[in-house]
């Protein structure tokens, strides 16, 4: 239906404009003797000059309309400690951009209107002026120097994590098309991992023989304690992904074959964020839209939509395959005590692997483990033979 409507509108518009140009052509042919030279004459200059001025109005009005109508889409209060710095720099930059945009577009279109061609008008022969060139090279240089300095200062603060800083280490693991997270446990050190150790429950390929891995916990929902800096160690299983946490002003690619990192401190719990004015309004707006859509769907006999409650999200932000558009993980920021209780209730990976091995009778017992393991430099110690077996089998393939 919509398509049809669009097509009809398009066709009518084109016909209207076609006719308009034709009429325009005809009037011109009558007016000027050599009317259709196809070079702009004074009438054209006049009309187009006015249109240029009108277009300036269009740009200004469209900008203001956009700010009013869509301005509230822009992500609100950042949920991380460094977010305020990012947003501050962003706001300064925006002031600069709007100022320059308003002035330059104004001059450009105003000149286009003011100096539109007229028979007999003489243009000024004004070829160069070193002073002007100097002024408009130096001003941007100075302004940009300020922005660069502020930007680099903030960037260094955000990206470099001191060795001795007290952080919570969490691994984010991406694969087509889901995320997992691994907590480093009591020792706050992640056990070594490689895709060659992937087997059954051990979907992250953790080296179960590594002493640091013994207390690691793997989860499908990321919980973070409020007020504690979290250092994310990021890995990918297959292709490039990108860990994107828009509300925390955080992003980093997940790259197969290497570990990347990003650190931030969450400062608002999920509950606190839900309670903020801008978030209440946003959720309210979204639920109005969803209710309407839901009613339409139900009328069509399809299942309706659930109302939306706000949650932090981790999205994939690097094209990673057909279902890239639906690769997400829920993120919850808790009060530190709640976080502790939640994490303590989780089973360690080692325990989970043991449990899964006990349940089904050892089906792969007859597979002879390969002794040579050239592709993997550090062979795991033999306390978990099943894992080793799987790793070598995988390598064999």
């Amino acid at each position: 239906m919509t398509t049809l409507l669009v097509i009809v509108i398009l066709v009518l518009l084109s016909i209207a404009l076609w006719q308009l140009t034709k009429i325009f052509d005809l009037t011109q042919a009558g007016k000027v003797a050599q009317g259709n030279s196809q070079v702009a004459n004074d009438t054209d200059n006049n009309i187009q000059g006015y249109l240029m001025f009108g277009f300036l109005a269009f740009i200004y009005i469209f900008t203001i309309y956009g700010l009013i109508k869509w301005g509230h889409f822009v992500l609100g209060t950042p949920a991380s400690a460094h977010g305020a710095q990012v947003d501050n720099l962003m706001n300064i930059t925006w002031v600069l951009i709007f100022t320059v945009q308003t002035i330059t577009q104004g001059l450009l279109h105003w000149f286009a209107f003011k100096y539109r061609g007229k028979e007999g008008q003489k243009a000024l022969y004004f070829a160069d002026n070193d002073k002007l060139e100097f002024v408009w090279s130096v001003i941007p240089a100075v302004v940009l120097a300020g922005l660069i300095l502020y930007g680099l200062y903030a960037w260094t603060n955000i990206m470099f994590v001191d060795e001795d800083e007290d952080v919570l280490v969490v691994e984010i693991y991406g694969k087509q098309f889901s995320w997992e997270a691994r907590y480093a446990g009591e020792d706050n050190v992640l056990g070594k991992a490689n895709v060659r150790y992937i087997e059954g429950v051990n979907t992250l390929g953790v080296d179960l023989a590594d002493p640091h891995a013994q207390d690691d916990k793997v989860v499908n929902e990321l919980h973070l304690p409020k007020g504690k800096k979290v250092l994310f160690k990021i890995r990918s299983q297959d292709v490039l992904h990108s860990v994107y946490l828009p509300h925390f002003r955080a992003q980093m690619n997940a790259v197969p074959g290497m570990v990347t990192q990003f650190a931030f401190e969450p400062i608002y719990t999920t509950a606190e964020m839900r309670d903020m004015d801008h978030m209440r309004k946003k959720v309210h707006d979204i639920n109005e839209i969803r209710a309407k859509k839901s009613a339409e769907l139900i009328a069509k006999g399809q299942p309706g939509l659930d109302p939306y409650t706000f949650d932090y999200l981790l999205l994939c932000n690097k094209i990673c395959g057909a279902s890239h558009y639906n690769m997400q993980m829920k993120v919850v920021v808790d009060e530190p005590e709640d976080f502790k209780t939640w994490l303590e209730a989780k089973e360690t990976l080692v325990a989970a692997v043991k449990a899964s091995q006990e349940k089904p009778a050892d089906e792969t017992a007859d597979a002879t483990p390969m002794v040579k393991d050239s592709a993997k430099p550090a062979a795991p110690a033999a306390d978990s033979s099943a894992v080793k077996k799987s790793a070598t089998q995988a390598v064999k393939k």
Binding site: T3, S14, Q28, V39, A40, D44, I47, Q48, M52, F62, G66, F73, V74, V86, T93, I97, L108, H109, A112, Y115, R116, G117, A123, Y125, F126, A127, D128, E133, W136, S137, I148, G151, W155, I158, F160, V195, Q237, D238, V239, L240, S242, Q251, N253, V255, P256, G257, T260, I286, Y308, L313, L315, N317, I319, A322, H324, Y325, N326, A375, A394, V395
Partner: protein, 604 residues
Amino acid sequence: MSAVAHAHDHSHDHDHAHDHEHHHKDTFITKYIFSIDHKMIAKQYLITGIIMGVIGVGMSLLFRMQLAWPEESFKVFSFFLGDNHAPDGVMKNDMYLALVTIHGTIMVFFVLTAGLSGTFSNLLIPLQIGARDMASGFLNMVSYWLFFTSTVIMVSSLFVEAGPASAGWTIYPPLSALPQAIGGSGAGMTLWLTSMAVFIASSLLGSLNYVVTVVNLRTKGMSMTRLPLTIWAFFITAIIGIISFPVLLSAALLLLMDRSFGTSFFLSDIYIAGEVLHYQGGSPVLFEHLFWFLGHPEVYIVILPAMGLVSEIMATNARKPIFGYRAMIMSILAIAFLSTIVWGHHMFMSGMNPFLGSVFTFTTLLIAIPSAVKAFNWITTLWKGNLQMNPAMLFSMGFVSTFITGGLTGIILGDSTLDINVHDTYFVVAHFHLVMGISALYGMFAGIYHWYPRMFGRMINKNLGYVHFWVTTVCAYGVFFPMHFIGLAGLPRRYYTNTNFPLFDDLQNVNVLITLFALVGGAFQLVFLYNFFSSIFFGKRAPQNPWKSTTLEWTAPVEHMHGNWPGEIPHVHRWPYDYNKPGHDEDFVPQNVPMKEGEQQLHH
């Protein structure tokens, strides 16, 4: 064979150019197909570019419809994509990615590199510097036919069963290397890489030719500081192309080896489809460096020729000298130099050392200075002019407008701190479409409207040109301006649909608006196509110098001929911007007019 004979013949006529047309008859094949005449090759580039443009823009309309009305059934989808890729008229998710990928590839390489720079470098370099033809007409012909071959290979990849390349136009491995990861990375990707390798060969042959021609074949009196800015732009563009395209070729070759011969340049530690692959020790980040070492200069390869065309057209139509001729040349040089050392700003979030991010932030923001100088110079060129509002002039002013609007948001994206949260969102899409996509297209349209009489000997209809400009310019802002907002809301690009995130539900209306603007804007390109093709046959015959321009191409006869000028090549006595020079009766003085007695050079 005939081409070789022809080339020989041609080198011969440098001596006997005046009786050239008598001793040499063109057949249809040597005149229209395997032509070595730069003007014909320019037209071949242009028409091939326009056809590719229709495909590229058409694809964007298809995926815009999917974004506005996700997973709805459309007859057009069934028609263009077939049941395989759009069962029951609903576009499939991997097809969406394929369309996005091929749209980007076609627009960047085939339309804006070959269609824009290829067309106008070929047309204008010999004509504006006063040369009979390119340094090597034969290489020039080979360059075009390699380009044509690459477009054929790329288009044929659309018919591969598993779909064409769909890893994004940046083809980052491992996604582009592993058919297990996405269907398009099979035969589709092989064809993509082959096509690109052929394209790079074409581009290099072309660029080398442009450089040699500009350096060696300038007519008497045409010093480097008397070159029109168009030539400066083409010259520097060719140099950046020569420096950076080979790097893409090596990236493509290494990727081809990873794909076909089991090497591990870009791949390491991969577990996919239930098995561990043997790759060990490669790095996708290395590929990103190689890709963007070309990829960033590439955006300047696209925009510099447009800047050159706009400078020339603006001066002509403002009836004023271009303001700050030397500053314009300096800024072209500065932009070209900086463009080769800023590629890392595409990779702030790639996992490379954050210190590198600092360096690239610094160099990137520096590039704003020469860009600002150019914008101010264009605006000053309009000041106190006598603006002739031809369609080419409108597109030139439109260029400056979108270049500023799109360029300013570059200050945000180039700043690593701010890039964290807008990287790979629709904010980026809005930025680069305005600053290099739309701007370069405007430059191309401006060039087409302005040099149409020179190319086809006929005038193109101005009123259709006005309609084309105004609808396009309103729609361009209508499409890309709202995208800034949905980008700032955190909406990632390259999502097939946003319906899996209730968080983004309130952005859907904006997406519909964008698509409507895109459809209207796309439909009105038909006005241009009609105008372009019908004017070739039915346009009013063009006078020799319709825009009263000063540069040499307008001193050549309207009727095309090998060697460009009957008789001697004109000599040059002045710079190309003597418009409304005090002391002259006419408001323009062509470059081949000798200085009057006692006439002063008034510019510096």
